[in-house]
Each structure stands twice: as structure tokens, then as C-alpha cells.
Symmetry: C2
Subunit: 283 residues, 2 copies
Amino acid sequence: MAEQANTEMTTSHDKRMGRLLLVPNTLDLGCPDPATGEAPDLQQVLPLGVMREAARIGHWIAENAKTTRAFLKRVDKVAPLSQPLQALMIEELPRPIKGGKAAKGEKDAKGEAATQASVFAKLLDPARAGHDIGLISEAGLPGVADPGAAVVQAAHKAGIPVVPMAGPSSLVLALAGSGLHGQSFAFVGYLPTDGSQRAQRIRELEQLSRRAHQTQLVIETPYRNPALWQALLQHLQPQTLLNVSCGLTLSQGFTLTDTVARWRQRELNLPTDVPAVFAWLAA
Amino acid sequence: MAEQANTEMTTSHDKRMGRLLLVPNTLDLGCPDPATGEAPDLQQVLPLGVMREAARIGHWIAENAKTTRAFLKRVDKVAPLSQPLQALMIEELPRPIKGGKAAKGEKDAKGEAATQASVFAKLLDPARAGHDIGLISEAGLPGVADPGAAVVQAAHKAGIPVVPMAGPSSLVLALAGSGLHGQSFAFVGYLPTDGSQRAQRIRELEQLSRRAHQTQLVIETPYRNPALWQALLQHLQPQTLLNVSCGLTLSQGFTLTDTVARWRQRELNLPTDVPAVFAWLAA
């Protein structure tokens, strides 16, 4: 690197301040592999270096403390934890307001976010005291399609170094696996559940895809996978390329792309208990 | 998984057909770590399972055969290659037409893409003969912000199973590291290099970010990092949150987020030889 980042923040950065490490989780949600009946091997999807860092961390911020302990038990088998599981401090993220504006990604979510900012700032106290903190999500990278972003933003505000670590992300794996345009893409979260609103949104996103030559990605609550799939087949244009990626990195995972016209001729029974990502690119 | 994917393709799928494995690369471009003078340890960023798969693959499709051999030499130190490097078949992807419509992500790029489709289909011959093929990019995941997507699309068309494997992606690491809205985001590639066109596009993307509460991500050729940074500081609104992530997963990497107003008061000399991702979210 020819020049170094030289900022007020980094130059005045207290060397004894801890960092916020963004620890990737697997995409298996801790479920056993149906092929073997056992939890999938972490080494299939997580770098050893990441597991070693995770094994060293004493302070955690998580969506769920119980599943984080289960994850760390799996890490321990590959990279022994530096302290007993019971000794780890695991703080849970405040739950997003159910059906609130933040959950829907609406613009007015900023009010809610501001209210929660002080809560997030408090979660970072261990870093101010010199301890690294691990931020972990239920699946994939924290801050991507989950409530972790607010704590990352609070870390930046407090001048706490943020270190994202490599691991699986269902969205980007789905994009890669789709073969759809990867030089311009958008993830827009969930579609409305109301039928006519959903239809309207699907058509709107298809127009956007056509105009901007941009791949559109959405996710759905697993039990609604088949309903969303039918809605996409019904409302997208026949020549639009449509991909579904389901359970990527799992032994039973798959990613399939075809035109909507051909999908209408093919039978596809999507599982209702495995997360899926849906992506399309208008012709 | 309660139900299995049941499609014409998978039910009629010839078991002897090979798969297209999407092999993640590091983000270090094979450069030595300035801190140690040595190539960074692959185990910091790649799962062991991915390296074992890579070590087994005899047929490759790559952007660059030489750098792919260098990558496989590094893999060999962790997971011994199943055959000598010289015995591997490495086919290079046809170069995208420089400054062509595909490179710019324009809508009319589809004509160009169609012309190249037969070339991509031919690259997949080894899979038809029963061999797994590895698709690899110069950095990160193939098919994301690189020309690999067309070969993935050709694989889907030919009924060749596509298997994306977990690894680092600079875009999604930057998004996670930014702390900006991760429930809705768009990657739009490169901005125009012409000053006034670039200014217009920055304002346009900021409006889009405000309207859709959507994080916008762009990349730039490294030597233009400082110029893009200055343009962003000049043309974005003061309250917009702006992130730059540079060299993530490298020892000298960093990710920083602040408001444009505060960035205008801070000094930041971006390196001109390390890839960066720029992201913003309008207030």
C-alpha cells in the first residue's frame, strides 16, 4: 500500500481500544445435515483464521445467546476456545420492533433507529475498556439482511475499529450461483405478503431490472417460499431470467436459473423449511 | 428439508455430468502482505473444505491462467493438489470488450452477451464429459462484479449443476463493515469517469438511496480512488453517511463510516494501489 489511511480517527485512536469483529456464521442454522444426521463441519464454510479469532473473543453481541453458544461449541472442536463457554459475555441485540418501520426498511425507520442508538452504543462498552467484541448473526455475515448493522454504525461513531471477516453470505452466493448480471444488482429484502401489493412490487422491480439492467434479489420466510415462487411465475414476463437458490452450502442445497416461460413448464417443489433467495433479471 | 427440489432438470440429470464449482479467491491479488513480506495465509480467508475441493479439480475456467496457477500453488501448501500443476487444464474466459456495453452494464449489452454465449457453452465441455470444472475469478467470488456470470448462465442452460462455495466477497464485506442499511442495498459497478457525468450520477444515486432507503455501493479502479473520494465529498449531501472500505481481509485493510459533513473535516489519503468499495446511505 503506497499511502496509509490517515484520519483523525485512526491517528487519535487509543491503542488500548478493542475492535468490533464481524464474525460470519454458517448458513445451516445449527441444523444437522440430513445426509449424515450430524451438524455440518464448520471447516466446509468457515476459514480456520476466522474460527481462531472467534475462539479468542470473550465478549459477544448476538441475535440469540443460546444459538451463539451452540455455534461456539462447534468452533471449539476446531479451534479450542480460550475460556470456558460459561465465562463468555454474550449480550443480545434488542429485537427490532415487529412490523416496525425498520423491519420493513422504510425511510421513517430513522426515528426508531435513533432511539435504539444509545442501546447499541452501550453494547460497545467492552471495546472502550480494551476488549475485542465479536458481532455474530444467526446466519451469514452480521449486518447483511439482519439487525446487526446498527451496532456497526455505533462502532464507527465511537471510533471503534470494525473488522469484517470472510465467510458465507447467502445473498452473494445466490447472486454468484444465479449467473445473472453481477456487475449491477440490488437486494430489496422481503416483498409485501398481500397478494395484489406483492404483484405490483414484482412488476415494479422487473421494470427496474429492465431499465437499469440490474439483477433483483429478495428473500422470503421459508414457509412462504412456494407462494412467492408462484407469484413470481405469475407476474414476471416470460423472457425474464429467474433464479432460486435454496440451502446453499448445505448438502441438499441447489441453485437453478431458467426463463419464466420455461419455469412455467417445469415442476419445482420448494422446501418450506430452508431459507431461499430469489433473483431475476428482465430481458 | 421436508420436500426436495423436484425439477425436470434434476430428475433427468445425468449422474455422470460434472458440476461447475464456483471457487472463491482471496482479495489479496497474490500480493505479499506488507507486514510480513510473504503471501497471506489462505487459511485466514478460505475454508479448508473449499481448498480441498479446489485441490481435486482438474479443469478450470479462469480470468487469467497464470494467476490461477499461482493461487493453486498456495492451495497446494494447505491441501495437496491431486495432480501436478502442469497437468491441469486451465481455460481463460474471453475478455469483455473494453469499454463495451457489457463492461458498462448497459442494457444493449445483451447483444454482445448472446454472441459470446456459444464460447461460454464450449468452455463447459469437460462437465458434459463428466468432469467437475472450477470457475475462479481474480479476487472474491466468480460472477460477482466480474465477467464470470456468463459462464454460470451457460451452465444453467446446459443443465450442469452449479455449486457456489463460501469465501470472501469485497462487496458484501464492505456492506457489513459499513454499518449502513443491510436490508436493502444496491451495487451499481463503476461511476462515469467524466467529471460532470460522475457528479450527476452521484446525485442520482443519492436520491435513489433517500427514496428507497437503500445503501448504494460502487467500486473504482484503485488509481482513481482519491478522485472518486473527492467527488463523493463534493457532491453528496452533508448528512449522508459515507463509507470507504479498502483492502478488507488484508492486514492493512480498513473500513470507515462518517457523515459527509464530518468527512469534509477529516483527512483521508486513500491508497492508489488497493481496491476500495465506496458506500453511502442518504439521510
